[in-house]
Symmetry: C2
Subunit: 207 residues, 2 copies
DNA sequence: AGCCGGTTTGCGGAAATCCACAATTGGCGC
DNA sequence: GCGCCAATTGTGGATTTCCGCAAACCGGCT
């Protein structure tokens, strides 16, 4: 559980050892896996850090593992490693959201730099992810009715209008309103809209 | 000025003609330029569409032109074309925000698809850009004082508190407030915060 | 039946917002 | 100096928000 670590997936034991040794020498923790299935079945999807994936492996390829993880809503930054990379493959991987794409043989310093960049990137991502999660949790404990009222509040409507529109008394709207603020841990409609603004805005959308 | 068009920059006349013919046959307007300098000096930076850049050219390379444009705050999607592309170059270009990277010889259909994707992408970008521009214009006509007050409003503070903090009467704050809403073309603090939320959220951040 | 939580409503008052009307001050340009 | 504009303030009233206190209804669970 500790800090951010690098997950290495490569079928070649020599490569795994070399990478682990290299990273360890630079103070980067890492775990290594022999195959994509191995990683998928054992690793937590909640972790923070980055992935170093070999493209060509027996069984599931690195690319396929990447796709699987994205489908599983795992946003860990992925650095591909390949000895037979071609341009179209690299381009596709990057456009699909891979963090980097490195050809073997790799330069030690360059690789470490990219890993460090990925780790730093993921720290920010995790921070964002966590605040988004918090907001979602707050949002989840809102009643159906409260969510309706919230929508109307965010639409900038006055309590009076909301009451009319929902066919209820203004007082009721006021009660909902205060419950919403309480559960969402904000103290004004402005804060509410700002907090909610975090949800729709992923700084990294596919280009 | 018409609709979105593709700007082609390639030193080889045969390639330019082939591309223009290909695009025209698919209903895509295009303009061609012989060199990066040529394009830079003649083309408007306000247009909408996409760029098709040859990487290797006498004088300024496509990559360099790309960097120049980014420095000039031009966000047009760029598709690189190259006959001697290597993986690191493609990766760097994509990480720097290029839209795509195609090797020559290219497949006609694939290239057109990518161009169309870029054009569609740019339509959305332009739409976003325009609304952002509008907001900026509104923001620009706010007085110094009004901007200060706006910040405090967005911080969720009450008029009374704002008045204290700025050392002015509450009435003055109210006046500023109404001026702000008027100039920003919104009718409540909630709308204001939503409109302002558009500014900080570029869907495309560098990875 | 009894309890609980969501939804609803009313009353009444404190606080805040919104606004029209009115006015003063100070800087800037013609 | 005069006009213009930003910034400032005041008065007073209409409207809205915010809240505590109280209570009713209903569906689900024990």
């Amino acid at each position: 559980m500790s800090g951010p670590a690098t997950q290495i997936v490569d079928d070649d034991p020599a490569v795994r050892d070399a990478l682990q040794w290299l990273l360890k020498s630079r103070g980067v923790q890492s775990q290594a896996w022999e195959s994509a299935d191995d990683f998928l079945s054992s690793a937590s999807r909640e972790l923070c850090g980055c992935l170093l994936l070999d493209v060509r492996m027996p069984g599931m390829s690195g690319i396929e593992l990447f796709d699987r993880l994205r489908a599983l809503n795992c946003r860990l930054p992925v650095i591909f490693l390949t000895g037979h990379g071609d341009v179209p493959m690299a381009v596709q991987a990057l456009k699909d959201g891979a963090f980097d794409f490195i050809e073997k043989p790799y330069d030690d310093n360059a690789l470490v730099d990219k890993v460090l960049a990925a780790l730093e990137h993921d720290l920010k991502r995790c921070a964002r992810e966590n605040s988004v999660l918090l907001v979602r949790q707050n949002l989840a404990q809102l009643t159906q009715r409260e969510q309706e009222v919230m929508q109307l509040i965010l639409a900038g409507k006055l309590n009076k209008v909301i009451a009319d529109q929902l066919g209820i008394a203004m007082r009721t709207v006021e009660v909902h309103r205060s419950h919403i603020f309480e559960k969402m841990q904000v103290r004004s409609a402005v804060e509410l809209s700002q907090v909610l603004g975090l949800l729709g805005n992923k700084p990294e959308a596919e280009n």
